[in-house]
């Protein structure tokens, strides 16, 4: 892990300019330009709020006593990091193929590319945070101070997890272009299988339980890594009270490091094939 990180650190200047390039290029030529980084999450939030307030009132959806007082804020807490996660993965899956020129024609450290995908999406996420905090202020929700100390930890766990997954996807997509299409649908499913638009309480009681385990719904939810990230964000920012999910978060942290190591190993193993298969 350390040697991998050192490797990436060596290329920090390159990563830095490429992230900057990504951000600059993305909105170049549009009227609002960089403001889109702020406007995009707002619009996304607006869409979901409309859907779950007017089209499918969440009272029906959630059934058991809607205790989500400020639904928009709750939604935003999960939606913003999810956007980072999902764009990181879909960009990461394509990034080697899109930059085939670099890989085939220039001596270029390929691992930089998925890292840039994750980091540039992280910058968008960070730009979205002030809006999220503005919402908290407007709805006068006060996150606990100890909880806020956990916030960088959650962010870091998500970063490591995203890096690992992006590397795996980037490397495999070179060999199987099918992943691109598969991934788009998989991510949609993943979104609905994660407590972002509904609280964990909705699902955890569902399904049969086997051999003394908790109900199947809860087991499945707990196996979903993003569940713990979403719940962490929600607990830290939205819910009152102390941050109770930290054990899960740390466990996920360990899993994320493992994913990252696996991703890097896989990427390294397949590295030689990129210039030939891209």
């Amino acid at each position: 892990m350390l040697s991998n990180l050192r490797q990436l650190f060596r290329h920090r200047a390159l990563i830095q300019v490429l992230v900057a390039r990504e951000l600059k290029a993305r909105y170049r030529g549009s009227v609002l330009g960089f403001f889109w980084s702020f406007v995009n999450p707002l619009l996304l939030l607006l869409v979901y709020t409309i859907v779950f307030t007017y089209i499918m009132p969440r009272g029906q959806l959630l059934g058991n006593g809607d205790d989500l007082e400020h639904y928009a804020v709750f939604l935003f807490c999960g939606l913003l990091p999810w956007t980072w996660f999902t764009s990181s993965l879909s960009d990461g899956a394509n990034v080697l193929i899109l930059n085939g020129n670099l890989i085939k024609k220039v001596l270029f450290p390929a691992e930089v590319l998925p890292v840039v995908s994750v980091l540039s999406n992280m910058v968008h996420f960070l730009f979205g945070l002030p809006i999220l905090f503005a919402f908290l202020v407007v709805y006068s929700i006060q996150p606990g101070l100890t909880g806020l100390l956990w916030f960088p930890v959650v962010l870091f766990v998500q970063l490591i997890l995203s890096l690992g997954l992006a590397m795996i996807l980037a490397a495999l997509t070179v060999h199987f272009r099918d992943i691109k299409d598969l991934l788009a649908n998989l991510l949609t499913l993943w979104f609905f299988a994660t407590p972002i638009i509904y609280p964990m309480a909705l699902i955890e009681g569902r399904g049969p339980s086997f051999m003394g385990l908790p109900p199947l719904g809860k087991v499945l939810m707990n196996l979903n890594p993003f569940t713990h990230l979403a719940i962490s964000y929600q607990e830290i920012l939205y819910h009152d009270g102390p941050f109770g999910h930290w054990r899960w978060l740390l466990a996920l942290g360990v899993g994320s490091v493992a994913t990252f190591l696996l991703g890097y190993w896989l990427f390294d193993r397949l590295r030689d094939s990129f210039a030939e298969e891209v």
């Binding site: 200047a13 390159l14 300019v17 490429l18 390039r21 600059k24 290029a25 170049r28 030529g29 930059n99 020129n101 670099l102 890989i103 085939k104 024609k105 220039v106 001596l107 270029f108 495999l172 060999h175 199987f176 896989l266 193993r269 397949l270 030689d272 094939s273 210039a275 030939e276 298969e277």
Partner: protein, 452 residues
């Protein structure tokens, strides 16, 4: 210590089109090699056991046909791909001019792209700032450096890419046929830059189809053929060997084309076409009329068949040939046969450029030979003492017809030969000539390059 050393290097690629992606992936994961578990028919050797050593400060040329492994060699040296077996060692910072401006982002300005590209090539931000003006000046893009790269012309794009790459100040510069693009002025500038590199003791590896550049510029060269090291050493000798081989291959190709023609001696049976094409009215200039018609003329063979041209052979100084050098003798040998006796006949020969310009045409009738009799098998020889044509491809008509133009057997543009010349003179016809000067007009000693 050599700047570049390849030691028994081979490179095997996976052939595409086989649905064995899982196998490739598995073998890559398990053994780290993409090709180890492939069957021979699924792989392709781009380089076979090539050993090259380039001393520091040398300029080394790599020549060979398309697909001979030149670019693979360059990519191996650049470190973009790794050899399947063997060792590649490079000492010093490499800059590869394999594709200029690879990695430019179209949406952002030239200025930002210079920084990004420079960092990709291993410069620090500080180094780029220090060289920025030089780069822009070299690329001649002062006015447009803040415009997005997508608005650049391909020449501007390339110049900027080249300017960044050479300003990396590499110890080893790898160049892949980049000078083929770009206008005259810029090509010269690039050459100057290479010369400057040479003076400063940098090593250059040059992959090119420009043989004259290899001869003028390189201290050593290798000729790759089908991934194998055919010949390595002094550039002039390598180029010479390569050219000889190219000529042989061309000769074989043209010979096989001729063989195809002669194995399908179908004489067009339609009298309509024979009349339209060959049997012009009784006009002594039938042949030149036909020649004027040559733009429309398609290659083919027609005629009544009363006299047939069975075989046509081109011969050079050393026997049958399809590739000649300017000034060589050339013999066109036709085997003919007439089943029935014929008393009205004329033999004709014309030479055309591929775009249909008649270089020369004649026939026995025009040269006032009056036919008397012909029967059975015979031979007609048209001997050219000196082939005074400039370099190029030429097509040949041969025909036997009545003196009024009615075709017995007309072979139009069926035979192809090539003329080679080391002099890049222009036009079609090279009259034998000498230059004379008064004493005050002086030239340097000619290069010791091999003459044609």
């Amino acid at each position: 210590m050599p700047a570049i050393a390849l030691d028994h290097v081979s490179k095997v690629y996976r052939r595409h089109g086989h649905r064995r992606q899982f196998a490739t992936l598995k073998s890559a994961l398990l053994t780290g090699s993409l090709v180890r578990h492939l069957r021979p028919d699924e792989s392709f050797s781009a380089l076979r056991d090539v050993s090259v050593s380039v001393p520091k400060g040398a300029c080394f040329g790599v020549i060979g046909r398309n697909g001979s492994g030149k670019s693979t060699l360059l990519k191996l040296v650049a470190g973009i791909t790794r050899p399947t077996s063997g060792v590649v060692r490079v000492n010093g910072r490499i800059s590869a001019l394999i594709e200029l401006g690879a990695g430019f982002h179209p949406e952002i300005s030239g200025r930002e792209n210079v920084f990004i590209n420079g960092i990709m090539l291993g410069l620090s931000r500080h180094e780029i700032s220090a060289r920025f003006d030089e780069i822009v000046e070299f690329a001649e893009l002062e006015e447009f450096i803040d415009a997005p790269v997508k608005t650049y012309s391909s020449g501007m794009y390339m110049r900027l890419g080249f300017a960044v790459a050479v300003n990396v100040d590499p110890d080893v510069l790898l160049v892949d046929e980049v000078l083929a693009v770009g206008d005259e002025g810029f090509s010269l500038k690039c050459l100057d830059k290479f010369a400057e590199f040479k003076r400063r003791g940098k090593t250059i590896l040059l992959v090119t189809h420009s043989l004259s550049m290899v001869e003028r510029f390189c201290d050593g060269a290798v000729w790759l053929d089908a991934g194998e090291n055919q010949f390595i050493g002094d550039p002039k000798r390598v180029v010479q060997r390569y050219l000889t081989d190219v000529e042989q291959a061309e000769d074989e190709l043209l010979a096989s084309q001729d063989a195809k023609v002669q194995h399908t001696p179908v004489i067009a049976a339609q009298p309509g076409s024979a009349l339209a094409n060959g049997a012009a009215p009784a006009d002594p200039e039938a042949l030149s009329d036909a020649a004027a018609d040559m733009f429309a003329a398609k290659e083919g063979r027609w005629g009544s068949g009363a006299v047939r041209i069975q075989q046509v052979t081109l011969e050079g100084p050393g026997g049958p040939a399809h590739v000649f050098h300017t000034g060589d003798p050339m013999t066109i040998r036709m085997r003919i046969s007439a089943a029935e006796p014929v008393d009205d006949f004329a033999f004709g020969v014309s030479i055309f450029t591929p775009d249909g310009i008649c270089c020369y045409g004649t026939n026995t009738d025009l040269e006032e030979m009056r036919s008397k009799s012909l029967q059975g098998d015979g031979e007609v020889v048209f001997a050219i003492k000196r082939l005074e044509l400039v370099q190029g491809t030429y097509k040949l008509d041969v025909a036997v017809h009545k003196r009024d133009g009615f075709s017995y057997d007309y072979h139009r543009l069926l035979y192809t030969f090539r003329v080679k010349s080391r002099t890049m003179d222009a036009g079609i016809y090279r009259p034998g000539h000498v230059w004379r000067f008064t004493d005050n007009v002086q030239f340097k000693e000619p290069d010791d390059r091999p003459d044609d």
